[in-house]
């Protein structure tokens, strides 16, 4: 078992019910499907569903990744779920 931190930005914080959480994942590198499953079982179904939206971007340790299939998440990583932005 290993832990990662997930940070929920913008409206996703409301969906998750918190600004961030620690998730426990199976040992070793894990990818997108495992992350979504962990969100569903350890946070709630709504955030798992919302994270599947193609408009939500994913960052690992401050690097944005556009390819969900190739995602590699290691123990201790910080994953950020980034919905469409609104600044200025």
């Amino acid at each position: 078992m290993s832990a990662i931190r997930v940070v929920y930005l913008g409206r996703l914080a409301d969906v998750a019910g918190r600004a961030e959480s620690e998730l426990v994942l199976p040992s070793g590198e894990t990818g997108w499907a495992v992350l979504v499953a962990a969100l569903e079982s350890q946070v709630n179904a709504d955030i798992a569903q919302a994270s599947r939206d193609a408009k939500v971007k994913i960052a690992i340790n401050g690097t944005v990744h556009t390819d969900r299939d190739g995602l590699q998440i290691k123990p201790g990583d910080e994953v950020a779920l980034l919905p469409p932005v609104s600044g200025g």
């Binding site: 930005l9 409206r11 980034l82 932005v85 609104s86 200025g88």
Partner: protein, 149 residues
């Protein structure tokens, strides 16, 4: 090429920044400045909150300022953006560009503002009488970015 990029969690007064910025670039031909403020909508916006992400927001702004400086051949750029809670009338963002020629300065500010609104790591929500509402991007945001391709 000098970029002064800041994220501020408290109110700032844009006028106090422009003088020093101008003075830092002797020999400039022109300075162009844009200030965006919290608008009080007819729907009754009471407050605005700007959320950011530590690992991405400021680095992204620095990259944006440096790109603008290079693309528009600037002598310098000032880019200041608020985070946290703001009230109606408070400044949210100030972008200023110093260049030898006016076209570069004006276009750089326009470019920077389009990107700060649509491609920078901020998330805004408004407080109205019926509670908080997250702001979603609009179609204009995409076309605003596309014109710089």
């Amino acid at each position: 090429m000098a970029c002064d990029v800041r994220l501020l969690d408290h109110m700032f007064i844009p006028g106090t920044l422009i003088g020093p910025f101008t003075q830092a670039h002797p020999g400039l031909g022109g300075v162009c400045t844009f200030v965006g403020e919290v608008r009080g909508e007819q729907g009754g916006v009471e407050a605005l909150e700007l959320m950011h992400y530590e690992l991405l927001t400021l680095p992204g702004m620095i990259e944006l300022a440096e790109t603008a400086c290079a693309r528009f051949d600037l002598m310098g750029m000032l880019m200041v953006h608020r985070v946290g809670m703001l009230r109606v009338g408070e400044p949210i963002v100030c972008v200023s560009a110093a260049a030898r020629h006016r076209r570069g300065a004006i276009d750089a500010v326009d470019y920077a503002m389009d990107h700060l609104k649509s491609a920078a790591w901020f998330w805004k929500r408004e407080k109205r009488a019926d509670g908080w509402h997250w702001i979603e991007p609009r179609a204009e945001d995409r076309s605003d970015l596309a014109r710089w391709q």
